[in-house]
């Protein structure tokens, strides 16, 4: 049974009372909150995620509780509790759904040191995975969302989970879209389901694109990395698609890893082995369609088999 199979009032009731446990990639998350926005967001963009059995082990225990702020008098705040403790500051109650997604990412990123974790979007086609590592503002999430709308399988928009066997574990959460890219994706795919919107966060307006049912249904199915593409969106830029050195790619991924330092020499060897079989490219673009064409060409002409420049 999936979250979306529960009628909305029942989901809200269960969230408020016992909490709802559901599977996200290799993990079970339990969320409890009496806040209506949390229930609405989860019902809409989390609809495809399967409910966990009551007897399942729970990896991440999250709760979002409302409370009143002192100044201005009685404004509505909320707090995120992880395993019963509240390690973070309170936030406006209207941002509760975004804070749940943020809190879940935080749990995965800080409690999964047996994997090598890299800040990167990951999508897959034909059994081969594409990593999109890039700093915020480079258009990584927008490109990831567009690829997912075009039939690529979503593994994650934030986190590449690299197992010691060199495969990537999916953790398909809703793709977080910021500011202008929300409308870009609405125009790009009018059928896209977008919800959980939060205004005036540190990153501006944030909204979440529901992952396709197929991506969630296949969340236990790992994928082998085949390409690394560094996207760089710039308004009006001409298309630039060029090989990127694999050595530099390794250094970039290590820098953008949450726990590379924890893995030491094994982490280096793992990344080097993975990149040995990957083609790496820079992708500068001003048009989303151009960028998609480039990426699709990778998938269709078997770009992975070609040795890239070192």
């Amino acid at each position: 049974m999936k979250i979306g199979d529960l009628p909305a009032p029942q989901l809200r009731e269960r969230l408020a009372v016992d909490g709802v446990a559901f599977r996200v990639g290799p993990y079970v998350t339990r969320l409890r909150s009496p806040i209506a926005r949390v229930a609405e967001g989860l019902h809409l963009v989390g609809a495809h995620h399967p409910l966990a059995a009551p007897a399942d082990f729970v990896d991440f225990d999250l709760e979002i509780r409302p409370r009143l702020g002192l100044w201005p008098p009685l404004h509505r705040l909320a707090r995120l509790f992880v395993d019963g403790a509240a390690p973070f500051n309170a936030f406006p109650v209207a941002q509760s759904y975004a804070m749940f997604e943020w809190g879940l990412n935080w749990c995965v990123a800080t409690r999964s040191d047996r994997y090598l974790l890299v800040h990167s979007a990951v999508v897959e086609k034909g059994g081969r995975a594409l990593l999109l590592p890039a700093p915020p503002g480079s258009g990584k999430s927008t490109l990831c969302a567009a690829l997912v709308c075009r039939g690529w399988r979503l593994l994650s928009d934030e986190l590449a989970i690299l197992r010691s066997d060199g495969l990537l574990a999916p953790i398909p959460r809703p793709v977080s879209l910021k500011n202008a890219s929300i409308d870009v994706i609405r125009r790009f795919e009018p059928g896209a389901v977008i919800g959980g919107t939060a205004h005036e966060t540190i990153k501006g307006t944030v909204a979440y694109l529901r992952p396709p049912a197929d991506s969630v249904d296949r969340q236990a199915e790992p994928a082998r990395p085949a390409w690394v593409v560094f996207p760089k969106y710039e308004a009006g830029a001409v298309l630039r698609f060029a090989p990127h050195s694999r050595a530099r790619t390794l250094v970039f991924l290590a820098h953008n890893s949450f726990n590379y330092h924890v893995h030491g020499a094994r982490g280096f060897t793992l990344l080097a082995d993975v990149l040995e079989h990957c083609a790496c490219h820079d992708l500068g673009y001003g048009s989303l369609e151009d960028a998609l064409r480039c990426v699709e060409s990778l998938a269709s002409n078997d770009g992975a088999a070609r040795p890239a420049t070192a």
Partner: protein
């Protein structure tokens, strides 16, 4: 009155293979308690050592294995950090004694297994303090609280350590001590005796750790005289590990320990240390040691009160291990520790000043 059920974590530390009978719901709770107590990797090490790790269900196994990966990397980082400190101080010919976590790691003690800590602590003679500080500065450690005259005075006149030093590149913290209790504390252990008895570690000939009895005394003093119980159970587990380890290697360990405690003016902390390791973790402390220490402990009237406070404060910092009195117990023990560490004429102005800073929102992060 004691906080109701014995936490799963305490049961599991005493009987690691017993965890294999837990339900998934119990595992969920156990992993949460162990993480909150800072004992997740300790639990993982115990299960690994017993050969039971492969039989743990996949869900909790993920968290145990992740904590082991982190703990092993931490162990390596600590050894590297200690080697760097050693390199910096060796040329100056300053005697260095490692304390707490770093000492357990370098002395290969069981207390180091899965022990996570954020700072390295060293002790140098008070007369070498200025030399040590200057030498460390040349090697990249910079003093903190530099622009705060009050904090400087707090550390340098009253405490047993100088303000923490931060390495400019590695961002690691080094606490340089010259004793194991503040200068203002009522108990007066003689630091010179600690140096005289210290023993070299295998890896670096001129690097020392406290002698077994002193190491136990320091661990007990740190836990019962410091007032921070956020990781109280973890510190109690350290103490338990040290006691079991040294007792197994020296049949005269407990009598020696008790004698040394009286000699060092630390019989009070040791009395608490032995009482609660035995009470909570079942440490095999001989009755003779408890009887010998009785006069250093609380009287018959105060003992039930202290039990009620410590039984709560030494539990994991998790909602399932607390009752409505737990926050009060932790607060009372925090105040008690300050009272033990500073006379009232210093303590009252100090706490007032801290509270005022907090109200004003200034950064009041020091250990006082």
């Amino acid at each position: 009155m004691s906080p109701a059920p014995r936490p799963l974590l305490v049961e599991a530390l005493g009987d690691p293979p017993g965890t294999l009978r837990l339900t998934n719901a119990q595992w969920t709770l156990l992993i949460q308690q162990a993480r909150a107590a800072g004992l997740l990797s300790r639990l993982a090490f115990l299960l690994d050592a017993a050969g039971d790790l492969p039989r743990v269900p996949a869900g909790p196994l993920h968290h145990l294995e992740s904590s082991l990966v982190l703990a092993r990397s931490h162990d390596q980082a600590v050894r590297w950090e200690v080697a760097s400190i050693h390199d910096a101080l060796r040329s100056a010919g300053i005697p260095v004694v490692l304390l707490k976590g770093a000492a357990y790691v370098l002395a290969d003690l069981p207390a180091a297994r899965g022990r996570w800590f954020s700072d390295v602590d060293v002790m140098v003679p008070r007369t070498s303090l200025a030399d040590a500080e200057a030498t460390l500065r040349l090697s990249g450690w910079i003093g903190t609280h530099a622009d705060d005259a009050y904090d400087q005075r707090y550390y340098r006149e009253w405490m047993h350590e100088i303000p923490p030093m931060l390495h400019e590149r590695r961002r690691t913290t080094l606490d340089v001590h010259h004793s194991i209790l503040p200068l203002t504390a009522r108990l007066k252990p003689d630091a010179a005796k600690l140096f005289a008895a210290a023993v070299p570690v295998a890896l670096h000939a001129d690097l020392r750790v406290l002698a077994p009895a002193d190491m136990v005394l320091h661990s007990a003093t740190h836990l019962f005289w410091d007032g921070e119980f956020h990781h109280g159970l973890r510190d109690l587990v350290d103490l338990d590990d040290l006691l079991r380890h040294f007792d197994a290697r020296d049949p005269a360990f407990f009598p020696t320990l008790v004698d040394r405690a009286f000699e060092m003016d630390l019989a009070g902390p040791l009395q608490y240390g032995l009482r609660y390791t035995r009470r909570i973790l079942g440490t095999p402390v001989p009755d003779t040691a408890m009887i010998a220490l009785r006069r250093a402990g609380p009287g018959a009237l105060r003992r039930p009160l202290m039990d009620a406070l410590f039984d709560r404060a030494l539990m994991p910092d998790h909602s399932t291990c607390s009752d409505w009195l737990t926050p009060t117990a932790r607060w009372l023990l925090f105040v008690r520790a300050h009272y033990l560490r500073m006379p009232l004429r210093l303590l009252v102005p100090h706490l007032t000043r801290k509270a005022w800073r907090r109200v004003k929102g200034e950064d009041a992060v020091h250990r006082g």
